[in-house]
């Protein structure tokens, strides 16, 4: 075994070992549901720093709308909302991590666009927030419309759809603008707050959230224009249809629960006593919906029990118990909004 003790011998063995490890690593990626069950933990990619959506609260815990969605999926798959692991990422990193499949789901506010969906190695699941991009300016500028922003300086953060939207808006209105683009939304906001830019721009719910953390929130105003549609959707890796179905239908269940009046508080009563066949099927009292997507019959029950229905999640994080933002288009279709779940039939 002199060969193995020689330097070159050791190198050769090591190279072979690394190569064979690589083979094993790639073979294991096919069935994500099995992987998650085996690991016993759901791995979510989140982009921290936005109040209401995903941020670290006073107790040092990651909380927010995005995080609750992760809890819901974790509860549906593993039966326990606590069995999640959140990895904090920057926007471009989250995007690449999703493509590489190194996280199970990204619940951050990513806008669903053609360019991001097609031929990119990831899939969008369902729209959870209907948002649109807006502009925030200082009141003292005396601007009342986005069309008066010709020649202004915009603060952006790199890798978002915001840059492209402003470019389109400027082209359509014959405007010129200057841009300063930062590595993260946090720096971008700080620079605007310091006066480096005239305009801070992101999705309107995001603007509302961020205005609360300006030095003097009352100095700033959000202009009336909404320059884009920003349908926000969680993402999963492309090519695993079973896994995608699980995420999509867990999210659907949260919306259906609101429509049928199921809350985290009354859910046990609803499951046992509701006469509504949709509710019975969804909560696993009748039918085998859970088994059909590879989960237990309690999957939807667990998700709703853990974080509540869509309305509860909204109010806790973005609504009256959180940032105090109106729901806008994010109400049920029965109340004139855009939220609708395909039926549990």
């Amino acid at each position: 075994m002199k060969f193995l003790n020689s330097k070159i011998g050791r190198l050769t063995v090591m190279s072979a070992a690394i190569a064979s490890l690589g083979i094993m690593a790639t073979v294991a990626k096919a069935d994500r549901l099995a992987d998650v069950k085996k690991a016993g933990v759901l791995h979510c990619g989140v982009v921290p720093g936005l109040p209401g959506y995903g941020f670290i609260n006073k107790e040092g815990k990651m909380v927010g709308f995005d995080i609750d969605l992760c809890h819901a999926i974790g509860a549906a798959v593993l039966g326990d909302a606590k069995k999640i692991k959140t990895t904090k990422m920057s926007l471009p990193v989250a995007f690449n991590a999703m493509k590489a499949g190194s996280v199970d789901v990204v619940t951050h506010r990513f806008t669903w666009t053609f360019g991001r969906d097609v031929g990119t190695g990831l899939d969008f699941t369902r729209v959870m927030v209907f948002d649109g991009q807006g502009f925030m300016v200082r009141k003292k500028l005396g601007v009342t419309s986005g069309k008066q922003l010709d020649g202004a300086t915009f603060c952006f953060s790199s890798g978002a759809t915001t840059e492209g939207n402003v470019a389109d808006f400027a082209a359509a209105n014959g405007m010129k603008y200057k841009a300063v683009t930062f590595g993260s939304m946090g720096e971008s906001q700080k620079a605007y707050n310091a006066g480096r830019c005239d305009v801070f721009t992101t999705d309107k719910f995001g603007l509302g959230a961020r205005r609360t953390s300006m030095t003097n929130p009352s100095e700033h105003m959000i202009l009336p224009e909404t320059i884009s549609n920003e349908p926000i959707s969680p993402m999963v890796p492309h090519g695993d249809q079973v896994w995608k179905d699980i995420v999509v239908w867990t999210l659907n269940a949260l919306i259906a629960a609101e429509e049928h009046g199921i809350t985290s508080k009354n859910i046990d009563d609803m499951r046992d006593n509701s006469k509504n066949p949709f509710v019975q099927r969804m909560l696993g009292k009748t039918g085998k919906f859970g088994n059909k997507i590879g989960l237990g019959k309690d999957w939807a029950y667990n998700a709703i029990k853990a974080v509540g229905n869509y309305g509860e999640i909204w109010e806790r994080n973005l609504g009256k118990d959180g940032l105090g933002m109106p729901r806008g288009k994010n109400t049920l279709h029965t109340k004139g909004g855009l939220l609708i779940s395909p039926p549990f039939r």
């Binding site: 070159i8 190569a19 031929g119 492209g164 402003v166 470019a167 300063v180 683009t181 720096e187």
Partner: protein, 387 residues
């Protein structure tokens, strides 16, 4: 070992076997990585290729020396931001070397206060992570600079505010080609004079102030030409529009903060490299120079520095490489460098991750290779002949 394996006892056969074994193992490893990547890309339905480079970039770049708009192509965006990376690296490299020289002088000084200040400077700037320093300088700059509507006015031609320092740009009119030619001629003349002066000093021992004359020539000749041509240059002066100054050029706080941070951080290292080089020259050399009546400055220029250089160049090369690579942090504070553009906006908009990462790798490798080559050539010409 039986007779059949007796060839194995030959050292050269064995080493040949090991070497080829390693080559095969490595080739297999590389093939395996590429093959896996290909399979994964196919499975995920990602299209590969560099066709996206001619697509519209669709994002704005805050600072560019070429014409660039959101309608320009991805390739244009890469060229513009690559130029930004080079500009920042070169200027920061020059500044860091310049300041590093003073840091070294301070640390070698006989004056206690100066020596200790140098030490404190080095310990502070080289021990705090660069990214923290960049954030500090950037947001400190934004805090100090005046609001856009309270700009500091320099004679109605230049202004300073939170957008940066706005100054006029020259607009060259007909006949101004002569200026560029005169600068070129002045350069050639200066180089000729330098060669002549060196030869004369070697032959006769008489020195000639070639450097002073050369620099004077480079400035004087174009000015004379300008005067003869009756100044065919007008100025584009910045004017305040609805929100910002328009026209002229702007030195933006993002660039200045990057320059500041990189200069201070790297000058601490470079100062130590220079100090080590100078200290490595034997004390006897200094005493010998003194004994033949060379002044302090002459001793440094002709005796110490040429010998110190041989020790300084290799670590200085490393420092320049570090500096060039660390410009990739620029995106954090909004300076539009290559890494910022390619890894940020372009990655999420085109999702050609592998191609874009390859472009970044090749670009930085190119920059590093260029620096290393230039320094190696310099090293070759300054080494002791025969060693």
């Amino acid at each position: 070992m039986t007779g059949l394996f007796s060839f194995w006892r030959k050292g050269s056969v064995r080493s040949l076997f090991y070497q080829w074994g390693l080559v095969f193992a490595l080739s297999f490893g590389i093939f395996f990585v590429i093959n896996t990547a290909k399979e994964n890309l196919e499975r995920l339905g990602i299209k590969t290729g560099f066709g996206f480079l001619s697509d519209e970039a669709g994002f704005a770049i805050s600072q560019s020396i070429f014409d660039y708009s959101t309608a320009s192509s991805n390739w244009d965006a890469i060229v513009v931001t690559f130029a930004n990376t080079i500009i920042l690296s070169v200027i920061a490299g020059l500044f860091a070397t310049f300041f590093g020289f003073f840091v070294a002088m301070a640390r070698l000084s006989g004056n206690f206060l100066l020596r200790k200040s140098g030490e404190v400077y080095v310990e502070i700037f080289r021990n705090i992570p660069l990214l923290l320093q960049l954030f500090f300088w950037y947001f400190a700059a934004l805090k100090m600079l005046p609001d856009k509507r309270q700009s500091v006015n320099f004679f109605d031609v230049a202004y300073l505010n939170i957008e940066g320092f706005m100054s006029p740009t020259p607009v060259f009119e007909a006949g101004s080609d002569a200026i560029f030619w005169s600068i070129l001629i002045a350069f050639l003349l200066a180089i000729t004079i330098w060669f002549w002066a060196t030869r004369r000093q070697t032959n006769t021992g008489e020195p000639f102030p070639a450097l002073t004359v050369g620099i004077g020539l480079i400035f004087a000749l174009p000015l004379i030409v300008l005067w003869l041509l009756d100044f065919p240059v007008t100025w584009d002066i910045p004017k305040f529009g609805r929100f910002n100054f328009e026209g002229g050029m702007a030195l933006q706080p993002e660039f200045v903060a990057m320059l500041f941070g990189l200069t201070l951080y790297n000058s601490a290292f470079i100062g130590e490299i220079l100090r080590a080089g100078i200290l490595s020259v034997d004390k006897g050399q200094r005493e010998a120079a003194g004994s033949i009546g060379l002044s302090q400055i002459q001793t440094y220029r002709k005796i110490i520095v040429p010998q110190a250089m041989r020790l300084i160049i290799p670590p200085l090369t490393n420092q320049y490489l570090n500096l060039a690579k660390s410009t990739a942090l620029a995106g954090a504070i909004g300076y539009a460098d290559l890494f910022w553009a390619v890894n940020g906006a372009m990655t999420t908009q085109t999702s050609q991750t592998i191609e874009l990462q390859a472009i970044i790798l090749v670009s930085y490798l190119g920059i590093s290779f260029f620096i290393a080559t230039v320094m190696a050539i310099y090293n070759y010409y300054t080494k002791i002949p025969g060693k």
